[in-house]
């Protein structure tokens, strides 16, 4: 006992001597309804697993753990009609407090578990706001959360700056919705509020676009938001709707799916470490395709392809296509090239789409880069994450130099590249966990914790749909496997890794993959 206390005290003094755990995107909602049945929109039904997990990390971390709740811990976007506001604004502070209270009550067991964890040894808990719980940035909502946790000063904190930084300044955790072309990005983060009275939470354009859609689809397809990467579940759901055979897709939704839900994580990294030149896309030729460009990036076996094709025939896509910036076009083209490569190679990717199926065509290249020598498609990912990392670093105190950036938001955890590099003979200068947006370097390291809830990939969904219908699937039918990022105690350099809390027989344990 005394030894444990000494260890804990020493660990608290040295941030690198503590275990860090980042879990993201739990999306605790309204819980059960009056009849005791789960609300159809409730994604977090796993109190027992959650409690067991906290006990395990407390035990293994010898009660010297920094537990960072990396955003979207609570789903404060959906609460019925209890918020005023309009299309571009949501809850006021008072309304958000009521929503939080309801969620905390619905998840009393989880709240109790967090409190117990925070009170043990030298543990600490930090909440980072995400897009679904951005309301935590209201001072009153923040106070209410911390009061509910009631674990003593400094044991539970909330990152009012929109992120959490480790005591030694080496690890930064944020939710991830502010990166790149995210449609869930707030313009004035971490002050996502309207002017005027009452002050209201702003609603990013992706939220405005998809909120009602998710609510409607989730009534019929409860797992529509459990498909990783975020947004991917919309496709099979839209295609399964009774009107799908004649419907068209909202052009903005097509853009949303094309640009803001890109998941570069799905592609293997083994084949190059950046020592390959990227192709130069012919932007002029792309623009001349007008709306057809948007459809060309959708594989023929994609559930929304017919909807997109009909929208194109209606002439509905041209305006959105013409509004794309050059950078958005390059990003879409890089992504298409990656999809094409994966499909032509039948690569067993982490799987945002099956590695089989018809390959999409490439965007037109400029003549000087035609050919096969330019197989590099990380450019857009690297550009957007480099920019973001730079922005974040500039906001930090001068002595803070994070080398690890942990995120969530996409619901898809980064897969380890250790096996891939073994195949490559260990020659690649790439991180084995996460990725670096600077090719050929191991830092800064960006790593995605995925979602600590039940998710599945489109490939896994396809397998389930061989003998089930989409409408019949409940979150309980999904794999009981919850991803998180662990950073063991370190000396000079934090070394994060994605782990999974999963059931193995009757036992629960953390492992390197889902079973």
């Amino acid at each position: 006992m005394i030894v444990a206390a000494v260890v804990a005290a020493a660990a608290q003094a040295q941030p690198g001597g503590r275990t860090m755990i980042v879990m993201s995107d739990l999306h605790m909602g309204n819980g059960r309804d009056a009849s005791g049945a789960w609300d159809r929109h409730e994604d977090f039904r796993w109190a027992a697993e959650f409690t067991g997990f906290l006990k395990a990390i407390d035990r293994e971390g010898r009660s010297a753990v920094d537990l960072v709740m990396g955003g979207d811990t609570f789903d404060l976007l959906y609460g019925g009609d209890d918020c005023g506001g309009g299309n571009d604004t949501g809850c006021s502070e008072a309304e958000a407090i009521r929503r939080l209270d309801r969620v905390l009550t619905a998840h009393a067991a989880e709240v109790a578990a967090i409190k117990e964890f925070a009170q043990a040894g030298a543990n600490r808990v930090a909440f980072v706001p995400g897009d679904a719980d951005a309301a935590l940035l209201f001072p009153g909502v923040r106070r209410r959360l911390l009061a509910a946790m009631a674990a003593g000063a400094d044991r539970v904190t909330l990152g009012g700056e929109g992120f959490w930084l480790s005591g030694d300044g080496r690890v930064l955790v944020e939710h991830g919705h502010q990166v790149g072309f995210s449609a869930h990005r707030f313009d004035n983060w971490p002050l996502p509020f309207s002017r005027g009275t009452p002050v209201r939470l702003l609603r990013p354009w992706g939220e405005q676009l998809t909120s009602a859609l998710y609510r409607r689809l989730e009534e019929t397809f409860p797992i529509v938001d459990n498909v990783a990467v975020l947004g991917a579940g919309l496709k099979p759901a839209l295609a399964a709707e009774p009107t799908a055979s004649t419907a068209t897709i909202d052009p903005l939704l097509l853009k949303y799916l094309m640009l803001t839900t890109l998941s570069w994580q799905q592609f293997r990294m083994e084949l190059d470490d950046g020592d390959v030149e990227p192709p130069v896309w012919n932007i002029e030729a792309v623009r001349s395709q007008r709306g057809a460009f948007l459809v060309a990036g959708v594989p023929e076996d994609d559930p929304i392809r017919p909807l997109a094709t009909r929208a194109l025939a209606d002439g509905a896509l041209d305006a959105v296509a013409q509004g794309l910036s050059d950078e958005e076009i390059v990003t879409a083209c890089d992504y298409r090239a990656a999809v094409r490569r994966a499909r032509r190679r039948f690569e067993p990717v982490v799987s945002q789409f099956p590695p089989r199926g018809p390959a999409v065509t490439e965007c037109p290249r400029t003549t000087e880069t035609r050919g096969a020598l330019f197989d590099y498609f990380w450019r857009s990912r690297d550009a957007m994450f480099s920019r973001h990392v730079d922005e974040m670093t500039r906001r930090l105190p001068r002595d803070a130099r994070p080398s690890v950036f942990v995120q969530g938001h996409t619901h898809l955890a980064d897969r380890s590249q250790a096996g891939a590099n073994m195949i490559s003979g260990g020659l690649l200068k790439i991180p084995m966990e996460g990725f670096s947006p600077i090719r050929g370097q191991l830092t800064p390291l960006v790593i995605n914790a995925g979602a600590w809830q039940r998710t599945l990939t489109p490939v896994q969904l396809d397998r389930l749909l061989t003998d089930r219908t989409l409408a019949s699937l409940q979150p309980d039918d999904l794999p009981a496997c919850y991803s998180f990022v662990e950073i063991p105690p370190y000396g000079d350099n934090p070394a994060p890794r994605v782990r999974y809390w999963r059931q193995d027989g009757d036992q629960w344990a953390a492992g390197a993959s889902c079973r």
Binding site: D272, D273, R344, F346, A359, A372, L373, G425
Partner: protein, 463 residues
């Protein structure tokens, strides 16, 4: 039953005074060369993996074979070709002072008797995008046809050269001319001569996975099969079955049979293989046509005898199939090594380096053994060549093994060290390097290369 090999058609221009005499001599030498001695392409004439020569040793001396000559070369996987008294070998080296992926590829013609370099031809190649560890040099064995040798570089440069002096007759760039995309492990399909055609595994667009060129001019004659997958790493072969000559290609989306004269598809068996890794050459015996891959598993096809058609006789699971891993039971999942179809049995190296025997009709495993490679080694590889009732097998440990294969077991007759394994490899337990180059067997010799040298060693029986 074996397939008919394409006949070479040497062109000779002669004065009338000596024509009859010389024609007789040339005909004689031609007959000698054609009958057994040369090894003009991948797996020898007809791509059959058969060496018909006699007067060969019955035992490999443990102390090593007698060396005829050694000649330095640079790196590469491509086995040599031997024809007309010349040895053709390709290699590559990084451009001095440049980035590692800027390479100079080269084909060399050596005097078969002495190893002296007769001529070389070089070209630049940018290995960008290849998987780094294996980006060392060319893969495809040169194809010799009469007075021409056809050479394919790793990045899709195809050159037709005059065998006498290395003069470029014509050249094609798969990337530039056919809009091909080089696959992860480079272009590996050695061009196949069939009559006046040179049939090439290109992977071009549109619909140019296979392209037939006029072998004299390089002009495109036909193209076939969509490039909706990578081209793969296989070698097209020609068989006769169902009353037709059939061009067989095992590619990442299946097995295709085409009319070699027109490119018209006779039949296709869908069979997607993960990562496009289809390497082992299809083998045929009687009604059986067998393909295998690590991820896709095995497919034994039965060829129709009344028309060009085929059906799947049996399938073995591959590593990509649900529930399968590297270690789960399967029939024969060869990664690189081309198996053997001998009588009613298949013999081949599996994905763990074990030699297996299967019943061709059912896929039933008769036996398996680690006696050939002496270790369980992922991607274990050996190259089988039949000579009479026995096999010469150069394995990835750099050894040459003489053995008999039968449904009752593997009978090793003798073994000797052949060449130092130098190819990079990362998963081998016992050796950090391997030897992944097919040997050539010609004129009672074996010719084999690694990344440092090419060696000719005698296999002639002592008089």
């Amino acid at each position: 039953m074996s397939d008919r090999a394409p006949s070479p058609t040497p062109k000779v221009a002669l004065g009338s005074a000596v024509r009859v005499c010389l024609i007789a001599v040339l005909a004689l030498t031609s007959v000698i060369r054609v009958s057994a001695d040369d090894w003009p392409e991948w797996r020898g004439r007809g791509r059959l993996g058969v060496w018909a020569e006699t007067g060969i040793v019955d035992r490999l001396p443990a102390s090593g074979l007698r060396v005829s000559w050694r000649t330095p070369v640079h790196a590469g996987y491509a086995g040599p070709a031997v024809a007309g008294g010349r040895v053709f070998v390709t290699d590559a080296q990084p451009t001095e002072g440049k980035r590692a992926h800027q390479m100079i590829e080269r084909v060399s013609a050596l005097d078969e008797a002495t190893g002296r370099v007769l001529w070389t031809h070089e070209w630049q190649a940018n290995y960008s995008g290849l998987q780094l560890v294996y980006a060392i040099g060319p893969r495809a064995t040169p194809t010799v046809d009469g007075d021409r040798v056809y050479v394919l570089g790793t990045m899709g440069m195809l050159v037709a050269l005059d065998v006498s002096d290395g003069r470029v007759v014509w050249e094609k760039d798969y990337v530039r001319d056919f809009d091909a995309q080089v696959p992860t492990w480079g272009m590996a399909g050695a061009p196949l001569v069939d009559g006046d055609l040179l049939i090439c595994l290109v992977g071009g667009e549109p619909d140019a996975k296979l392209v037939a060129l006029d072998k004299r001019s390089g002009k495109e004659i036909w193209r076939a099969l969509p490039s909706d997958s990578e081209p793969g790493y296989n070698q097209p072969i020609i068989i006769e079955a169902g009353g037709a000559r059939q061009l067989i290609l095992f590619h990442p989306k299946g097995i295709s049979s085409l009319d070699p004269a027109t490119g018209r598809v006779y039949w296709e068996i869908p069979h997607s293989v993960q990562m496009g890794i289809v390497v082992a050459t299809p083998i045929r015996n009687g009604p059986y046509l067998f393909v295998t891959s690590q991820y896709g598993g095995a497919r034994m096809l039965k060829l129709a005898d009344d028309k060009p058609a085929a059906t799947v006789l049996w399938s073995g699971p591959g590593e990509q199939d649900p529930g399968m891993t590297h270690d789960t039971p399967n029939t024969l999942n060869s990664v690189i090594s081309t198996p053997v179809l001998d009588g009613e049995y298949v013999y081949g190296i599996d994905n763990d380096g074990l030699l297996r025997c299967l019943a061709a009709e059912t896929g039933k495993e008769m036996w398996k053994t680690d006696a050939l490679l002496k270790e369980h080694a992922m991607y274990g590889t050996a190259f089988f060549v039949r000579n009479g009732d026995r096999y010469f097998i150069n394995n990835d440990r750099g050894e040459l093994v003489m053995a008999k294969l039968s449904p009752s077991g593997f009978q090793e007759l003798s073994r000797t060290t052949l060449i130092e394994p130098t190819h990079p490899y990362v998963r081998r337990r016992q050796s950090p390097t391997v030897h992944w180059s097919h040997a050539a067997y010609a004129n009672r010799h074996i010719v084999v290369r690694n990344d440092n040298e090419i060696v000719r060693l005698s296999l002639a029986a002592e008089p």
